[in-house]
């Protein structure tokens, strides 16, 4: 035998690499795979190429489609009652627990002007604005610091701009909470289920140990519905496609003056307030 141990190991290593690489390449290049997606095959398709059943995985055809989702809050139309309705709708449709005290969970809530826009103090501003309760939630920034700092990509940004939470992957390190300049994120310090007023059966709850926040109702958009807060706000909150110049959102932004929270930080928040 002219093969010594080193040569044999090199040969074995190269064969293994070729074998694995060849199999993966075969999966990726099988008929239909490339034209089914200009993007990577889904995790499902990579694991079960010819499964005992699935012909296809695809997005819901009824979904709302937008290039870049955003929200406009018309402060002239927002009343305490409509704000309360929006908050209660969100809390109901997402099983947001109502925990008393400082370990609470908030997806959407109201706060005074001086807290929502802390670095724009204007002592002689219109009292209607200064004394108003602004409704705040995750801003789904274009340049989100929370996504930048997450060590597991448990929080990530979708192509349509929504900053999502993957509750299955979150390790509860709370780096995203430190990173958010708007205080939009909450942590489950305890089991939330005892604190859910009325369980909504079609959406999961969360467990202790993960971070959560507003998700622009991604699960409702997926079946063609508007976000719960926008629907319940009686027209004060308008959800739409910021990238579509003809959308209601863009028309409102053209006609009226709008402000955003902490714009100097470069996060480019996508919640606009019409004052």
């Amino acid at each position: 035998m002219g093969v010594d141990r080193r040569k044999f190991l090199k040969l074995a290593g190269v064969s293994a690499a070729l074998g694995l690489g060849g199999a993966t390449g075969f999966q990726l290049l099988r008929p239909g795979a490339l034209d089914a997606a200009e993007r990577m095959p889904t995790p499902y398709q990579m694991v079960f190429p010819k499964e005992h059943g699935a012909a296809e995985i695809m997005p819901n055809p009824k979904r709302l489609q937008g290039r870049r989702w955003g929200m406009v809050v018309d402060m002239r139309k927002l009343t305490p009652a409509s704000a309360r309705a929006a908050i209660e709708a969100c809390n109901y449709y997402h099983n947001v627990p109502q925990i008393p005290g400082k370990q609470n969970i908030k997806w959407i809530w109201t706060a005074p002007y001086v807290n929502v826009f802390p670095e724009t103090e204007n002592p002689w501003a219109d009292p209607d604005i200064k004394n108003a309760q602004f409704i705040v939630m995750c801003n789904h920034c274009d340049n989100p610091p929370c996504v930048r700092v997450c060590p597991t990509k448990a929080t990530f940004q979708r192509e349509d701009g929504i900053v999502m939470m993957d509750m299955h992957r979150c390790i509860g390190c709370r780096f995203c909470m430190a990173g958010c300049p708007y205080g939009s994120r909450s942590f489950n310090f305890r089991d939330p289920r005892p604190f859910i007023k009325k369980e909504y059966p079609d959406y999961p709850t969360r467990t202790r140990g993960v971070v959560e926040k507003c998700n622009f109702c991604a699960e409702r958009l997926a079946v063609g519905k508007l976000p719960a807060c926008a629907e319940a706000s009686g027209g004060a909150m308008v959800f739409g496609d910021v990238d579509d110049a003809g959308s209601e959102l863009r028309q409102l932004l053209r006609k009226r003056y709008s402000i955003r929270r902490k714009p100097n930080l470069g996060t480019s928040p996508q919640v606009y307030y019409l004052v």
Partner: protein
């Protein structure tokens, strides 16, 4: 060499058993936390990092300080440190183990901790923190153990260990810089968003670490026949002196920038810490104590007569430890989170269970340190007796 840790005096075994009891109590408290969640801590939606991360931050500094022994000895052949570099490296191992444990107890879902490795995210500083801390642990285990073993067998250490030791020098600086980057890159936290975060961390690390080393050196001298040497203590004391001066100086630089520019979103954090805001002043006595300890320590360390006094020097080291522990631990963390991004104030204080878990982790680190030091001193005494 571990057999050196299996035989010892009654004091040694009593000490180990005492530590095990504290560890057991801490573990019990952790089981409560594992079952009920982090609700048992004093953390809140606004102050989402607390005592555990404060300890982690402080101990990364202590771990990094091993470089203060390695650099003079291996790079500049400062022979005085030759006998005690092993003590620095073993302290680093113990400190890094404590850091990792503090991260684990702080996580909401510790069973998913491997997600950080399964889904590597290079844009996240926490990912790099995991990389550099684990790397530093391996470097110090290798550097310490291999050189000690070579010393015991009376042979020169293998050539490749020189590379590992030289690597540990920039790596030590990197672990603390990366930890500072965790804080210094967050746009929403004005108190932390400063370039001087990393230099401040390093300065307080090089004050606290060698201070701990001096104290450990005195302890070792008292309990065994191993004497690090008067000159070693003196040089370490000088290092602590310069480092604590820099630490206070950097702090004063921060105060000037914040106070003179008078930007409310920046001044509010220092105001909360040092004077209280809107009646919330829980941390005020702590930060002023830290300042007092630091200034007293500087006075004691600058004057050679007090610095060289074998009773006053340990006291000064304790003062340095208290100053940096409060400043870099609780004050820095709580100050960053209070007031919150909406300028609301939620104060933070650790709970009893939180403190028990913290003590349990410290006891684990001290247990590791005891065993490693027993091995190191055992080997040195055996080989010096020849």
């Amino acid at each position: 060499m571990l057999e050196k840790a299996l035989s010892g005096s009654k004091l040694y075994w009593t000490w180990l058993i005492g530590l095990l009891i504290v560890i057991a109590a801490g573990f019990g408290a952790y089981l409560v936390q594992y079952n009920k969640g982090l609700m048992i801590t004093g953390m809140s939606r606004d102050v989402s990092w607390g005592f555990y991360i404060a300890q982690f931050t402080f101990l990364v500094g202590v771990a990094a300080s091993a470089v203060m022994l390695v650099l003079p000895y291996y790079l500049h052949h400062y022979k005085t440190f030759g006998r005690i570099t092993i003590l620095g490296e073993f302290l680093a191992i113990s400190a890094v183990i404590m850091c990792s444990l503090f991260i684990v107890v702080d996580l909401g879902k510790p069973s998913r901790i491997l997600n950080v490795m399964l889904h590597p995210t290079p844009n996240s500083v926490l990912f790099w923190d995991m990389v550099v801390l684990n790397g530093y642990l391996i470097i110090n285990i290798l550097a310490g153990w291999v050189t000690l073993e070579a010393e015991r067998k009376n042979v020169p250490p293998p050539g490749w260990i020189k590379f590992v030791i030289y690597l540990s020098i920039p790596w030590a600086v990197s672990i603390h810089t990366v930890t500072a980057f965790l804080y210094a890159g967050l746009p929403g936290r004005g108190f932390w968003l400063t370039a001087i975060m990393a230099p401040r961390f390093l300065a307080s690390a090089f004050a606290a670490g060698p201070a701990v080393l001096i104290l450990l050196g005195y302890l070792v001298k008292k309990l065994t026949r191993f004497d690090p040497g008067r000159e070693a203590f003196e040089t370490l004391a000088k290092i602590v002196c310069y480092a604590i001066i820099l630490h206070i100086f950097f702090f004063l630089l921060e105060v000037f920038t914040v106070a003179y520019s008078a930007i409310p979103s920046h001044t509010s954090h220092l105001a909360y810490l040092y004077f209280g805001l809107h009646g919330h002043n829980m941390l005020v006595p702590w930060v002023w104590t830290a300042m007092g300890c630091g200034i007293t320590a500087i006075i004691l360390l600058v004057n050679p007569r007090t610095r060289q006094n074998p009773i006053i020097l340990p006291i000064a080291c304790v003062l340095v430890f208290v100053c940096t522990w409060i400043d870099k631990g609780m004050a820095m963390i709580a100050g960053g989170f209070v007031p919150n991004p909406l300028h609301e104030i939620t104060e933070y204080a650790p709970t009893v269970l939180e403190l028990m878990i913290t003590l349990g982790v410290y006891a684990t680190g001290i247990l590791v340190l005891t065993i490693l030091y027993k091995v190191a001193i055992g080997v040195k005494q055996e080989e010096e007796a020849v």
